[in-house]
C-alpha cells in the first residue's frame, strides 16, 4: 500500500524539476554543496542562518510538551511492556526475568485459547456483516431524496455514543423476559426466542447484533467513497446499456474497493479491540462466564485480577503480532481486488 501511494505521489509530482540534494525538490540555484554527493547519496548540510536556528529552537520548544507526552505515555510504556513481557511482574514485587516463559505458557493456557476462539468468532461474524450492512445503507443514503441529510444524521448519531451506554441500553433491549426484542419475536409467533446474553451460545451473536447499532459510521465512509465516483462513469455505462445491477457490479463496486479496504482494516482492528462492551455485558449477567471472554478482557483479567502483569504484557504483544499478520496479509492480497482509478504500476 505504502509503495503504491509513494509511486502515486511521485507520479503526481511528475513534471517538477528533477530532485537534487538527496531527493528533495530543491531550488534551481546551486548552493555550495550542489553536485557533491556523499557515499550515502546525500549532500552535506548547509549551515543554518541565525534566524533559522532560532526558529528551529522555537519549533522544538513548542513541540516539546507533545514530544514529552509521546515519550512518557507512549514510547516508554511500549518499551516497558515489551520488557515486562519477559518477566513475572506482579506489580507489588520486583520483576524477575523469565525469558520466553510467558509466551510458552500461552500454549497450555485454556483461557488464552478460549479468548482467541471468542474473538475469532466475533471477527468472522461481525466484520463481513458490518461491511455488507454498511454498504447497503450507504447505497440508500446516496439516493437523491428530499430530507436525506436528516436520515444521514440519524444514522450516524448512534456511532458517536459511548460503548458503555450502548451496552447498557442493549442489555435492556435483549432482556430474555421483558426485553422489547423478545416481546416482538413472541408477538410474531416465536414462542421461545433466544435468551441472548443469558445464553452462552447466543452471547457472541448478541454482541454482533449490538454492533449493528453503530454501523452508520461505516456507512458514512462508504457514502464518501460513493460520492467520489465520477458521474461520467455511470453515464458511459448507461450508454453501453448497463442496468442498475451491472452499474453496481462493474462501476460502483470496483470504484469503492479502496474504501472497502479501509473499512475492512478499521473493522478488523476494532474487532480485535473489543473490551468495554464485553466488560459491561459480562457484569450485567451477574457472572464472570467465559462466553464473552474476549482477548482484551482476558488480558485485563490476567493483569488486574490474577496480577500477572508480565503475562498480560506478553498477551498484548501476541495480539499486536496476530493483528499485524492479518493486516499484512490483507495488504498483500489488496492488489488483487482493490482497484485504484489511477494505477501508477500500469503507467
Amino acid at each position: 500500500m505504502r509503495l503504491v501511494l509513494q509511486r502515486r505521489m511521485t507520479a503526481r509530482f511528475r513534471g517538477w524539476p528533477a530532485p537534487d540534494r538527496g531527493g528533495r525538490p530543491g531550488p534551481a540555484s546551486p548552493g555550495p554543496g550542489a553536485g557533491k554527493r556523499t557515499v550515502f547519496g546525500r549532500a552535506p548540510r548547509l549551515p543554518l542562518s541565525r534566524t533559522r536556528r532560532r526558529e528551529q529552537r522555537a519549533a522544538y520548544l513548542f513541540l516539546s510538551p507533545w514530544l514529552l507526552g509521546l515519550l512518557a505515555f507512549w514510547i516508554v510504556p511500549i518499551v516497558a511492556s515489551l520488557l515486562l513481557s519477559f518477566t513475572d511482574w506482579t506489580l507489588i514485587f520486583k520483576p524477575h526475568w523469565v525469558g520466553l516463559g510467558n509466551y510458552r505458557a500461552m500454549a497450555s493456557d485454556h483461557d488464552f485459547w478460549n479468548s482467541i476462539r471468542v474473538t475469532v468468532k466475533y471477527i468472522l461474524l461481525s466484520v463481513p456483516l458490518y461491511m455488507v450492512v454498511g454498504l447497503l445503507l450507504s447505497l440508500l443514503l446516496n439516493l437523491k431524496l428530499r430530507g436525506m441529510n436528516v436520515f444521514r444524521t440519524f444514522l450516524f448519531i448512534p456511532s458517536v455514543l459511548s460503548g458503555v451506554a450502548v451496552a447498557i441500553l442493549w442489555v435492556s433491549l435483549l432482556n430474555p423476559d421483558v426485553g422489547p426484542v423478545n416481546q416482538a419475536l413472541r408477538a410474531i409467533g416465536i414462542a421461545h426466542p433466544p435468551r441472548w446474553l443469558a445464553d452462552p451460545a447466543w452471547a457472541v451473536p448478541s454482541v454482533v447484533l449490538m454492533g449493528l447499532w453503530g454501523v452508520g459510521g461505516g456507512a458514512i465512509i462508504y457514502l464518501a467513497g460513493l460520492q467520489n465516483i465520477g458521474a461520467q462513469l455511470y453515464e458511459a455505462a448507461s450508454l453501453d446499456g448497463a442496468g442498475p445491477w451491472q452499474r453496481f457490479r462493474f462501476v460502483t463496486f470496483p470504484m469503492l474497493t479502496p474504501t472497502l479496504l479501509f473499512v475492512l482494516l478499521t473493522s478488523l482492528i476494532g474487532a480485535f479491540q473489543v473490551f468495554d462492551t464485553a466488560y459491561v455485558l459480562a457484569g450485567s449477567q451477574g457472572a464472570d462466564g467465559t462466553s464473552l471472554n474476549f482477548y482484551l478482557l482476558n488480558m485485563w483479567t490476567e493483569a488486574f485480577t490474577n496480577q500477572r502483569f508480565g503475562y498480560a504484557s506478553a498477551l498484548a504483544w501476541v495480539m499486536i503480532i496476530l493483528a499485524a499478520v492479518v493486516i499484512l496479509a490483507i495488504f498483500r492480497t489488496a492488489s488483487r481486488w482493490v482497484y485504484y482509478e489511477y494505477d501508477p504500476e500500469k503507467e
Binding site: I92, A198, D199, P200, A201, S284, G286, A287
Partner: protein, 423 residues
C-alpha cells in the same frame, strides 16, 4: 555582570524540601497516619471515627483516602510497589496477608483486651482455619479488624406471604432448594408481574461445599455431582416457569432490593442491611437463611470493613491504636449510623434489633455463620459454572452442562492455585 536571581533558591527549597520529607510525621511531634479505604459512599462513618479518635489521641492525625472498589486494590498495589503505600489499609486482600505486607494482630488483640469470641466466626476465623475469603484471617493468624458486619441473607416480604396465604420461612432451619422454588411459584403473580423470588447464579449463594472439595482444589465430582446438578435443575426450572426473573433481568445484588421495595419480588437472595430503608417504607420484612440442598449446612457470605496495618508503616504503635479504636468505639459509632456491629455482644449492648422482628430474625440467622471454602479468584475460576447455568435455563441438559463446566473449572482451579502458590 549578569544579574543572578538568588531569590529563586529559597522558593525552590520551600517547594522541594516538604516534598522530599516523610509524609507520616511532622516536626511538632504529631504523628500522621495515612488510612486508605475502599468505599463507595462519602465516608461518613470513617470521618466520624477519625473525629472521635483524634479527640481521644490529640497527638495523632489521621488522613483518610477513599477509592472506589474497582480501582482500590490496583491503587494500593501500585503505591506499595512505589514505596508510598498507606499505613493502615481497609479491606486487606488475602494476597497481602499471604505476601507478608500486613502485621498480624494477635498482639493487638491481647494488649487491648478485645474479646473475639462474640465476633462473627466467618470474619475472624476459627482455630486451625486455613483462610477465609472476605475475612480477616489467613493461615490461623488475624490480619484485620473492623467495626461493622455485612451479611447475605434471604429477605422476604411478610405481607406478600399473607396475601398469598403461604407461611413464611423460619429463621432456622433453612429451606431446601426445592422448597424455596416451590414457595416462589406459589408467591408468583404473573398478571401483576410479581415474581416469587429473585436469585442470582447458584454459585454465588449456594453452599460452596457442593461445588468444590473442602480443600478448594477439586471441582470434578462436586460441580457435576448429584447435589449440584439437582439444585441447578430446580433453580433453572424456577426461572423457566416464570417464578423468578432471568439473571440479566434482575441481578439480586444490583436491582433486586429496588424490586423488593416496589413489591415486585416476594423473596430475594439479598442481604442483612438497609433495614432502616424498609422500616421507613413500612415494609413488613423478614429474614431467613439462604436455602441449601438437603443435608448440606446453609451458607452465606459475611464481610466487614476490616482494617489492617501495613508492615512497613513507620509508626506501628499508633496504627494499632487506630485499629483498636475502630473495632471497639468504632462499632458503637457505626451502630449509631445504623450499621450492624461486628461483635454480636456489642449488637446486644446497643440494642440493634430494638424489637423489630425482622432484625431479630437476622441476628438469629447470623449465629449460624460459617467460613467459606477458599478458592483463589473464585468468580473467575468458576466462570464455566455461570455459562452452564445459563445453558440449563435455556434448556440444556443439566448433567451434560455441568460435566463440561466441571472439566473447565478443574483446569481453572489448577491454574489459579498455581498462580496463588507462585505469588
Amino acid at each position: 555582570m549578569r544579574k543572578r536571581n538568588w531569590w529563586v533558591i529559597p522558593i525552590a527549597a520551600a517547594l522541594i524540601v516538604p516534598a522530599c520529607s516523610s509524609n507520616s510525621a511532622t516536626t511538632s511531634g504529631k504523628v500522621t497516619i495515612n488510612w486508605w479505604q475502599d468505599t463507595e459512599d462519602t465516608g461518613t462513618f470513617e470521618h466520624d471515627v477519625i473525629k472521635a479518635f483524634e479527640t481521644k489521641y490529640p497527638n495523632i492525625q489521621v488522613n483518610l483516602t477513599t477509592y472506589p472498589q474497582t480501582q482500590y486494590y490496583t491503587k494500593v498495589d501500585t503505591a506499595v510497589a512505589a514505596g508510598t503505600g498507606p499505613d493502615v489499609v481497609g479491606l486487606p486482600s488475602l494476597t497481602w496477608m499471604k505476601d507478608g505486607l500486613l502485621v498480624p494482630l494477635g498482639g493487638l488483640v491481647k494488649a487491648y483486651h478485645i474479646d473475639l469470641s462474640s465476633y462473627n466466626p466467618a470474619i475472624v476465623g476459627t482455630k486451625g482455619q486455613y483462610n477465609a475469603a472476605f475475612g480477616c484471617s489467613y493461615g490461623g493468624k488475624l490480619y484485620c479488624l473492623g467495626a461493622w458486619l455485612g451479611a447475605d441473607m434471604l429477605l422476604y416480604n411478610k405481607a406478600m406471604f399473607r396475601a398469598a396465604g403461604v407461611a413464611p420461612p423460619p429463621a432456622w432451619p433453612a429451606m431446601t432448594v426445592q422448597q424455596f422454588v416451590s414457595l416462589a411459584c406459589k408467591l408468583t403473580n404473573k398478571s401483576k408481574h410479581v415474581y416469587g423470588a429473585a436469585y442470582g447464579d447458584p454459585f454465588t449463594w449456594l453452599p460452596p461445599d457442593i461445588f468444590v472439595s473442602p480443600d478448594g482444589r477439586k471441582a470434578e465430582g462436586y460441580l457435576n455431582g448429584p447435589t449440584a446438578v439437582t439444585a441447578e435443575e430446580e433453580l433453572a426450572k424456577g426461572i423457566q416457569q416464570g417464578c423468578a426473573p432471568s439473571l440479566n433481568t434482575v441481578d439480586p445484588w444490583a436491582q433486586g432490593e429496588d424490586w423488593f421495595v416496589q413489591g415486585k419480588v416476594a423473596m430475594l437472595i439479598g442481604g442483612f442491611f438497609d433495614m432502616a430503608r424498609f422500616e421507613k417504607l413500612k415494609i413488613d420484612y423478614g429474614y431467613a437463611p439462604y436455602p441449601a440442598p438437603p443435608g448440606v449446612q446453609p451458607f452465606w457470605y459475611t464481610w466487614t470493613d476490616g482494617m489492617g496495618i501495613m508492615a512497613k508503616s513507620p509508626h506501628l504503635a499508633q496504627d494499632e491504636k487506630l485499629v483498636a479504636f475502630l473495632t471497639t468505639y468504632g462499632q458503637r459509632i457505626g451502630a449509631r449510623l445504623g450499621d450492624l456491629p461486628l461483635s454480636m455482644a456489642v449488637a446486644k449492648q446497643v440494642n440493634f434489633a430494638h424489637g423489630v422482628p425482622g432484625r431479630e430474625e437476622g441476628l438469629q440467622v447470623l449465629q449460624h455463620s460459617r467460613p467459606p471454602v477458599f478458592i483463589p479468584n473464585q468468580w473467575t475460576t468458576y466462570g464455566p459454572e455461570f455459562d452452564a447455568f445459563g445453558s440449563i435455563v435455556s434448556g440444556a441438559n443439566a448433567q451434560t452442562a455441568l460435566n463440561n463446566a466441571a472439566a473447565a473449572t478443574q483446569q481453572n482451579l489448577a491454574k489459579q492455585w498455581a498462580i496463588w502458590e507462585q505469588k
